[in-house]
Symmetry: C2
Subunit: 233 residues, 2 copies
């Protein structure tokens, strides 16, 4: 991978296993749920398919769901050159201020009291400037990364983008720099005086599940299901 | 429910089954995937647990995951009075510009070409002004709505919030007015010249699944699992 594609992580000092907290990545509440650990942040990002990308349009906030991929300490978001955020980021120099958030729901937390109902979740929030990737090789690598983010191993088992398709694909790059994770796990936190109330309390686990692959209508009937799909689920 | 809690939907004209499209809710691309149908929008909202709430902080975009509930054509978001967006919305008059987005992932779409890889999804994007709910009765009703949004029927089977808890709960209200859904379904859209390529193509269905309820550590062992939990999954 070219030097422009992936930041050099070898400059990381021994013992430096986390992102630095900033004012924007320090929660006002439940700080004990925040994490800046690099592995924690990366694992949450790698498990997601959809991020929610926030940016400004005419001075107001816009939040759109979109595909993304992580490559080292860099995120890529891609889309049509005609899509709004990608056009906007390309028109701005040095880029577009964004906030990119990925959230996994892990459980419904039912407390005895309505007040203490909650969700178990893992989320990552990234603040930064999304810059358009203009280098052809990095754009092609980013497209591979997005496809491999959806299904690891798939980029090599598909027809690579041609010049026309690459020209129609806009890619934004966002450095993982100002980033934090927030995690809630465990059971409900009821008030001591509520423990004896007659209400059931606990957690309903929530997870993502995959169904059996559904072949395309025009797929030749004898086409085998690739082995890398077996790793899902 | 009080008149302030739920907008009167009976004023809807016969045949008016949708939200009006605006410049902000008209996508620049794939307009055939957009829907303004009231039932479609509401169903997507009702199926979600987490929304991504976008707002401005110091002029920059922030996107945070949060619980929400729908009541008629109104959304409620609640949180601690100490949380940042809820404090900010309360400090602004007449409210805070927000964009609230809910997304469900339904499938991974694997095309023969890297370029046509996609996701099947259903999303709703709401633009508007989030206003703090100051009326005590509406705040209590909103908290019930959020609990019942997590598990229908649960609000009545838990200890209602007391005055101290209600005072510590900030609730924002967002009218469903400028809102649109976007939906992708079906298989991959490969180029005709790619159909004969030897790559598998199709869709991997993705869904949310629920695990068996996990009782709280301090729950009395003979506490029955309530019947409304059986409706999940």
């Amino acid at each position: 991978m070219s030097a422009t594609t992936e930041p050099d992580e070898t400059t990381t000092e021994p013992g430096d296993t986390g992102y630095a907290a900033t004012d924007r990545t320090t929660p006002t509440r439940a700080r004990e749920r925040a994490s800046y650990d690099r592995d924690v942040v990366h694992a949450i990002l790698d498990e997601g398919y959809v991020c929610h990308l926030g940016f400004l349009r005419d001075g107001g906030p816009v939040v759109l769901p979109t595909l993304y991929a992580r490559s080292g300490t860099r995120l890529y978001v891609h889309g049509s050159t005609g899509s709004r955020p990608l056009r906007m980021a390309g028109a701005e120099d040095p880029g577009m201020p964004v906030c990119l958030t990925v959230t996994h729901l892990d459980g419904l937390v039912l407390a005895r009291s309505a007040f203490h109902h909650s969700l178990n979740y893992r989320s990552v929030v990234v603040h930064g400037t999304a810059r358009p990737v203009r280098d052809e090789a990095e754009r092609a690598a980013a497209l591979d990364a997005v496809v491999d983010h959806v299904v690891p191993g798939r980029a090599a088992d598909s027809r690579r983008a041609n010049a026309k398709e690459l020209a129609a694909t806009a890619v934004l790059c966002l450095d993982l720099d100002e980033v934090s994770a927030k995690i809630r796990t465990g059971g409900p936190s009821d008030e001591p005086e509520d423990i004896s109330l007659p209400y059931w309390s606990g957690v309903i686990p929530v997870a993502r599940s995959y169904g059996a692959p559904v072949p395309a209508d025009d797929l030749a009937p004898d086409t085998p299901v690739p082995g890398y799909l077996a790793s899902l689920g």
